[in-house]
Protein backbone atom coordinates (compact mmCIF):
# COMPACT_ATOMS: atom_id res chain seq x y z
CA UNK A 1 0.00 0.00 0.00
CA UNK A 2 1.45 3.31 -1.06
CA UNK A 3 1.13 6.28 1.34
CA UNK A 4 1.51 8.78 -1.53
CA UNK A 5 -1.54 7.37 -3.30
CA UNK A 6 -3.59 7.51 -0.10
CA UNK A 7 -2.58 11.12 0.67
CA UNK A 8 -3.27 12.19 -2.92
CA UNK A 9 -6.65 10.47 -2.88
CA UNK A 10 -7.61 12.18 0.38
CA UNK A 11 -6.40 15.59 -0.80
CA UNK A 12 -9.46 16.11 -3.00
CA UNK A 13 -12.71 17.34 -1.41
CA UNK A 14 -14.92 15.51 -3.94
CA UNK A 15 -13.23 12.25 -3.09
CA UNK A 16 -13.69 12.89 0.61
CA UNK A 17 -17.40 13.43 -0.06
CA UNK A 18 -17.54 10.02 -1.76
CA UNK A 19 -15.77 8.38 1.19
CA UNK A 20 -18.18 10.00 3.64
CA UNK A 21 -21.12 8.75 1.59
CA UNK A 22 -19.78 5.21 1.79
CA UNK A 23 -19.14 5.66 5.51
CA UNK A 24 -22.84 6.41 6.00
CA UNK A 25 -23.97 3.62 3.70
CA UNK A 26 -21.44 1.11 2.48
CA UNK A 27 -21.75 -0.95 -0.69
CA UNK A 28 -23.24 1.53 -3.18
CA UNK A 29 -23.48 1.33 -6.97
CA UNK A 30 -22.25 4.21 -9.14
CA UNK A 31 -25.81 5.37 -9.83
CA UNK A 32 -26.49 5.73 -6.09
CA UNK A 33 -23.19 7.45 -5.39
CA UNK A 34 -23.68 10.07 -8.08
CA UNK A 35 -27.22 10.98 -6.93
CA UNK A 36 -27.58 14.61 -5.66
CA UNK A 37 -23.90 15.28 -6.21
CA UNK A 38 -22.53 18.29 -8.02
CA UNK A 39 -20.44 15.97 -10.15
CA UNK A 40 -20.86 14.41 -13.54
CA UNK A 41 -20.99 10.65 -13.82
CA UNK A 42 -17.61 10.81 -15.52
CA UNK A 43 -16.24 12.82 -12.60
CA UNK A 44 -17.53 10.35 -10.04
CA UNK A 45 -16.06 7.45 -12.02
CA UNK A 46 -12.72 9.21 -12.25
CA UNK A 47 -12.63 9.90 -8.51
CA UNK A 48 -13.67 6.32 -7.70
CA UNK A 49 -10.78 5.05 -9.81
CA UNK A 50 -8.33 7.15 -7.79
CA UNK A 51 -9.88 5.92 -4.52
CA UNK A 52 -9.67 2.32 -5.74
CA UNK A 53 -6.06 2.83 -6.81
CA UNK A 54 -5.24 3.99 -3.29
CA UNK A 55 -7.07 1.00 -1.81
CA UNK A 56 -9.58 3.25 -0.01
CA UNK A 57 -12.49 1.86 -2.01
CA UNK A 58 -12.93 -1.76 -3.05
CA UNK A 59 -15.36 -2.58 -5.86
CA UNK A 60 -17.13 -5.94 -5.74
CA UNK A 61 -19.54 -7.54 -8.17
CA UNK A 62 -22.86 -8.43 -6.62
CA UNK A 63 -24.95 -10.10 -9.31
CA UNK A 64 -25.03 -7.62 -12.18
CA UNK A 65 -24.23 -4.69 -9.97
CA UNK A 66 -20.80 -3.31 -9.15
CA UNK A 67 -20.85 -2.12 -5.55
CA UNK A 68 -18.30 0.14 -3.90
CA UNK A 69 -17.13 -0.51 -0.36
CA UNK A 70 -15.08 1.62 1.96
CA UNK A 71 -11.82 -0.07 2.95
CA UNK A 72 -10.72 1.48 6.25
CA UNK A 73 -7.35 -0.32 6.46
CA UNK A 74 -5.18 2.23 4.55
CA UNK A 75 -6.41 5.08 6.77
CA UNK A 76 -5.62 3.03 9.85
CA UNK A 77 -2.11 2.24 8.57
CA UNK A 78 -1.61 5.90 7.70
CA UNK A 79 -2.82 6.89 11.15
CA UNK A 80 -0.40 4.47 12.82
CA UNK A 81 2.49 5.65 10.68
CA UNK A 82 1.88 9.41 10.50
CA UNK A 83 -0.40 10.53 13.33
CA UNK A 84 0.15 8.32 16.36
CA UNK A 85 3.90 8.80 16.21
CA UNK A 86 3.79 12.59 16.18
CA UNK A 87 1.07 12.82 18.78
CA UNK A 88 3.23 10.81 21.18
CA UNK A 89 6.18 13.08 20.57
CA UNK A 90 4.06 16.16 21.18
CA UNK A 91 2.88 14.77 24.50
CA UNK A 92 6.36 13.74 25.61
CA UNK A 93 7.73 17.18 24.62
CA UNK A 94 5.10 18.80 26.84
CA UNK A 95 6.01 16.46 29.70
CA UNK A 96 9.69 17.31 29.23
CA UNK A 97 8.82 21.00 29.34
CA UNK A 98 6.80 20.47 32.52
CA UNK A 99 9.71 18.65 34.17
CA UNK A 100 12.11 21.35 33.10
CA UNK A 101 9.94 24.24 34.28
CA UNK A 102 9.11 22.59 37.56
CA UNK A 103 12.70 21.50 38.11
CA UNK A 104 14.06 25.04 37.66
CA UNK A 105 11.20 26.71 39.56
Amino acid sequence: MNDDLVFKALADPSRRVLLDRLFVRDGQALIELEADLDMTRFGVMKHLRVLEGAGLVVARKRGRKKLHFLNPVPIRLLHDRWIDKYREREVSALLDMKDELEGTA
Binding site: M1, F23, V24, R25, D26, G27, G55, V58, R60, F69, L70, N71, P72, V73, P74, R76, L77, D80
Partner: protein, 154 residues
Protein backbone atom coordinates in the same frame (compact mmCIF):
# COMPACT_ATOMS: atom_id res chain seq x y z
CA UNK B 1 -30.27 4.69 7.12
CA UNK B 2 -29.14 3.09 10.36
CA UNK B 3 -25.54 2.48 11.31
CA UNK B 4 -26.33 -1.22 11.46
CA UNK B 5 -27.34 -1.29 7.79
CA UNK B 6 -24.09 0.45 6.90
CA UNK B 7 -22.16 -2.41 8.48
CA UNK B 8 -24.10 -5.36 6.98
CA UNK B 9 -21.22 -6.09 4.59
CA UNK B 10 -17.75 -5.14 5.69
CA UNK B 11 -14.74 -5.18 3.37
CA UNK B 12 -11.13 -5.00 4.53
CA UNK B 13 -8.25 -5.10 2.10
CA UNK B 14 -4.52 -4.84 2.64
CA UNK B 15 -1.23 -5.66 0.97
CA UNK B 16 1.17 -7.99 2.72
CA UNK B 17 4.77 -8.49 1.63
CA UNK B 18 4.70 -12.28 1.57
CA UNK B 19 3.64 -15.20 -0.60
CA UNK B 20 0.00 -16.37 -0.50
CA UNK B 21 1.28 -19.63 1.03
CA UNK B 22 2.84 -17.74 3.93
CA UNK B 23 -0.36 -15.78 4.60
CA UNK B 24 -2.43 -18.97 4.37
CA UNK B 25 -0.11 -20.65 6.86
CA UNK B 26 -0.54 -17.77 9.34
CA UNK B 27 -4.33 -17.93 9.05
CA UNK B 28 -4.63 -21.71 9.39
CA UNK B 29 -1.80 -22.71 11.80
CA UNK B 30 -3.04 -22.66 15.44
CA UNK B 31 0.15 -21.19 16.97
CA UNK B 32 0.46 -18.46 14.34
CA UNK B 33 -3.28 -17.73 14.33
CA UNK B 34 -3.17 -17.18 18.11
CA UNK B 35 -0.54 -14.46 17.66
CA UNK B 36 -2.85 -12.13 15.77
CA UNK B 37 -6.37 -13.28 16.70
CA UNK B 38 -6.80 -12.42 20.39
CA UNK B 39 -4.86 -15.55 21.36
CA UNK B 40 -7.52 -17.81 19.84
CA UNK B 41 -6.38 -21.24 18.69
CA UNK B 42 -8.02 -22.30 15.46
CA UNK B 43 -8.93 -25.96 14.94
CA UNK B 44 -10.07 -27.36 11.60
CA UNK B 45 -9.26 -29.94 8.97
CA UNK B 46 -10.25 -27.33 6.33
CA UNK B 47 -12.58 -29.67 4.47
CA UNK B 48 -15.82 -28.15 3.23
CA UNK B 49 -18.69 -28.91 5.59
CA UNK B 50 -16.46 -29.64 8.58
CA UNK B 51 -16.13 -27.47 11.70
CA UNK B 52 -13.68 -24.64 12.24
CA UNK B 53 -13.41 -23.91 15.96
CA UNK B 54 -11.83 -21.10 17.83
CA UNK B 55 -10.69 -22.01 21.33
CA UNK B 56 -9.45 -19.82 24.21
CA UNK B 57 -5.68 -19.88 24.96
CA UNK B 58 -6.17 -22.19 27.96
CA UNK B 59 -8.26 -24.54 25.82
CA UNK B 60 -11.19 -24.32 28.26
CA UNK B 61 -13.66 -22.22 26.27
CA UNK B 62 -14.99 -22.54 22.74
CA UNK B 63 -15.18 -18.97 21.39
CA UNK B 64 -16.61 -19.97 18.02
CA UNK B 65 -17.80 -23.18 16.39
CA UNK B 66 -18.28 -22.52 12.69
CA UNK B 67 -18.35 -24.45 9.41
CA UNK B 68 -16.00 -24.36 6.41
CA UNK B 69 -18.08 -23.26 3.42
CA UNK B 70 -15.33 -23.05 0.78
CA UNK B 71 -11.65 -23.89 0.88
CA UNK B 72 -9.08 -23.48 -1.91
CA UNK B 73 -5.58 -23.18 -0.38
CA UNK B 74 -3.80 -20.77 -0.54
CA UNK B 75 -6.33 -18.50 -2.24
CA UNK B 76 -9.77 -18.75 -0.68
CA UNK B 77 -11.27 -19.66 2.68
CA UNK B 78 -14.95 -19.07 3.49
CA UNK B 79 -16.53 -19.98 6.80
CA UNK B 80 -19.59 -19.16 8.85
CA UNK B 81 -19.23 -16.79 11.81
CA UNK B 82 -21.01 -16.72 15.14
CA UNK B 83 -19.37 -15.61 18.37
CA UNK B 84 -20.08 -17.84 21.37
CA UNK B 85 -18.08 -15.92 24.01
CA UNK B 86 -20.93 -13.44 24.56
CA UNK B 87 -24.57 -14.62 24.95
CA UNK B 88 -25.90 -11.50 23.15
CA UNK B 89 -23.69 -12.18 20.13
CA UNK B 90 -24.39 -15.92 20.23
CA UNK B 91 -28.13 -15.19 20.03
CA UNK B 92 -27.72 -13.44 16.66
CA UNK B 93 -27.93 -15.35 13.34
CA UNK B 94 -24.68 -16.57 11.85
CA UNK B 95 -22.84 -14.43 9.33
CA UNK B 96 -20.08 -15.26 6.85
CA UNK B 97 -16.37 -14.49 6.55
CA UNK B 98 -14.37 -14.84 3.31
CA UNK B 99 -10.59 -14.64 3.14
CA UNK B 100 -9.31 -14.00 -0.40
CA UNK B 101 -5.57 -14.04 -1.07
CA UNK B 102 -4.30 -12.82 -4.42
CA UNK B 103 -0.61 -12.76 -5.45
CA UNK B 104 0.63 -9.36 -6.66
CA UNK B 105 3.78 -8.00 -8.22
CA UNK B 106 6.92 -7.36 -6.19
CA UNK B 107 6.49 -10.19 -3.69
CA UNK B 108 3.24 -8.81 -2.29
CA UNK B 109 -0.13 -10.37 -1.98
CA UNK B 110 -3.49 -8.73 -1.55
CA UNK B 111 -5.65 -9.99 1.28
CA UNK B 112 -9.35 -9.16 1.17
CA UNK B 113 -11.54 -10.10 4.10
CA UNK B 114 -15.28 -9.79 3.58
CA UNK B 115 -17.59 -10.18 6.54
CA UNK B 116 -21.14 -10.24 5.19
CA UNK B 117 -24.66 -11.55 5.86
CA UNK B 118 -24.63 -9.34 8.95
CA UNK B 119 -28.01 -7.73 8.17
CA UNK B 120 -29.79 -9.41 11.08
CA UNK B 121 -26.79 -9.35 13.43
CA UNK B 122 -26.29 -5.68 14.38
CA UNK B 123 -24.39 -6.34 17.63
CA UNK B 124 -21.96 -8.67 15.88
CA UNK B 125 -21.57 -6.15 13.03
CA UNK B 126 -20.71 -3.36 15.45
CA UNK B 127 -18.42 -5.58 17.49
CA UNK B 128 -16.32 -6.84 14.60
CA UNK B 129 -16.01 -3.52 12.75
CA UNK B 130 -13.07 -2.34 14.86
CA UNK B 131 -11.82 -5.82 15.60
CA UNK B 132 -11.05 -6.82 12.02
CA UNK B 133 -8.83 -3.80 11.52
CA UNK B 134 -6.73 -4.66 14.57
CA UNK B 135 -6.57 -8.36 13.66
CA UNK B 136 -5.55 -7.73 10.04
CA UNK B 137 -2.91 -5.14 10.94
CA UNK B 138 -1.59 -7.72 13.42
CA UNK B 139 -1.58 -10.43 10.74
CA UNK B 140 0.36 -8.12 8.39
CA UNK B 141 2.94 -7.33 11.09
CA UNK B 142 3.29 -10.99 12.06
CA UNK B 143 3.78 -12.23 8.50
CA UNK B 144 6.13 -9.41 7.51
CA UNK B 145 8.27 -9.25 10.65
CA UNK B 146 7.68 -12.56 12.43
CA UNK B 147 6.64 -10.61 15.51
CA UNK B 148 3.11 -10.05 16.81
CA UNK B 149 1.70 -6.51 17.04
CA UNK B 150 1.77 -4.80 20.45
CA UNK B 151 -1.16 -4.75 22.88
CA UNK B 152 -4.68 -3.89 21.70
CA UNK B 153 -5.41 -0.17 21.33
CA UNK B 154 -7.08 1.61 24.24
Amino acid sequence: MTVEAALATQVYQLYIKATPERVWEAITTPDLHAKFFHGAHVQSTYEVGTPIRSVSPDGMQVWADNVILQCDPPRLLVHSWRSLYDPELAAEPESRVSWEIEPMEGGYCKLTVIHDRLDASPKTAKGVSGGWMFILCGLKTLVETGEPLGPAPR
